[in-house]
Amino acid sequence: MTSNVKISVRQFTVIVMFYTIGTTILVIPSSLAADADQDAWIAAILGWVLGLLIVGFYIRLGRLFPNMTLIEYNEKVFGKWLGKKISLFFIFFSFICAATVLYYLGNFMTTQVMPETPIESFTILFAGIVVMGLRLGLEVVARTAEILFPWFLLLFIVSTLFLIPEIEIQNIQPVFEFGIKPIMNGALTFASTASLPLVILLLVFPAFVNHPKDAGKAYFIGTLLGGLFVIIITFLSISILGADLSERNMYPSYALAKKIDVGNFIQRVEILIAGIWFMTIFFKTTIYSFSFLTGLAQIFGFRDYRPFALPYGMILVVYSLVVYPDVVYMMDFDSTIWIPYALTIGLLLPLIILSVGSLRKKIKK
């Protein structure tokens, strides 16, 4: 296998963080506001805690196979035939996610930033960069993440500082107006968008990190930090735009950045937020694609996934235009089907793998 590929623990932390922030930062304030109105930020915090629990579970699962990827482990636990079938669910999930994330990017660009350019030009360009990253390998992508992290931090801190004077605290009052249920719903939405897809990192996590022991901690810290950024953005969005406007905007954090106005001089810097998003979404798409391709190669028993990166890029571009025929379909899917699907792939299947795996270990002893 390509097990000579190793990334450092710090690089892994940054990747997990970017991955958690991913599309979440631009989309989640809107769906949280739809679920929990002005309590969206509480829902975000609750979802974050839920996400940490989920990641704790993934770390526990990862300890079962310190030198293998999830795909190889599946084969070991369930046997060749069934293991491959189960692995197919995971790589199908990562393909779907990669395609939808690419669509998000294209849709964002065509609706918000450059309305006269066709969506294909964005998806093709972006898929081109992703494929380039894939062909250069995980190590290069990880180093890129490390280099881009300070820039991400700078952009984030600058836009947050500029937004703080705009906060109007009455926008988040009354707290707990509708009770706990909408908040629970929102927390579930948050966890399923930000944390459950982290299951895909099990295809990277213990096998490709140089110190498997500390990698678990990195996984945890990455989610912790990533979630914090998203909570901050959600809070700003609710307290500045208000619940109504956050809900009605498809990209509230982008609308949020349009509010920045320092002394009538620093204005319209919303592309800062878009810049944050380009970085995080690049890593999200690349990691999804990486796990899809390594998974595919491992299912077929090939040593290297790289020859398949280019044709994969072609398929990805087409599917990014196919998965969501229109925005209404996207919103319907994301609010009704996505959560059960993510729960099945991100919680149910790993739970089965964990129980069967530990049972086998016990029997062996």
């Binding site: 595919l296 077929f300 020859p307 398949f308 087409v318 009704t336 089907i337």
Partner: protein, 77 residues
């Protein structure tokens, strides 16, 4: 028409980059999977450029997970 030409040119470029090293290393299995993926990519791209309907995997997920979704949201609403 131009779109199809572009797609075929891209596909041949991809083949030109990837096939010789695979042939040299005599990796038959990889070559097969590569060809299937490339063919799939080309056919799908051409179908998309002709605006033909391409099966959407999300429709399938929709059918499978609708009952689960209804059940889940009956608790949360």
């Amino acid at each position: 028409m131009w779109a199809i030409t572009g797609i075929i040119v891209t596909a041949s470029f991809i083949a030109m980059i990837e096939v010789p090293p695979l042939l040299r290393a005599k990796l038959k299995g990889e070559l097969w999977l590569f060809s299937i993926l490339l063919l799939l990519g080309t056919v799908l791209s051409i179908a998309k450029s002709l605006q033909l309907a391409i099966p959407n995997p999300l429709d399938m997920l929709w059918t499978i997970f609708q009952p689960f979704s209804d059940w889940l949201y009956s608790f949360l609403k």
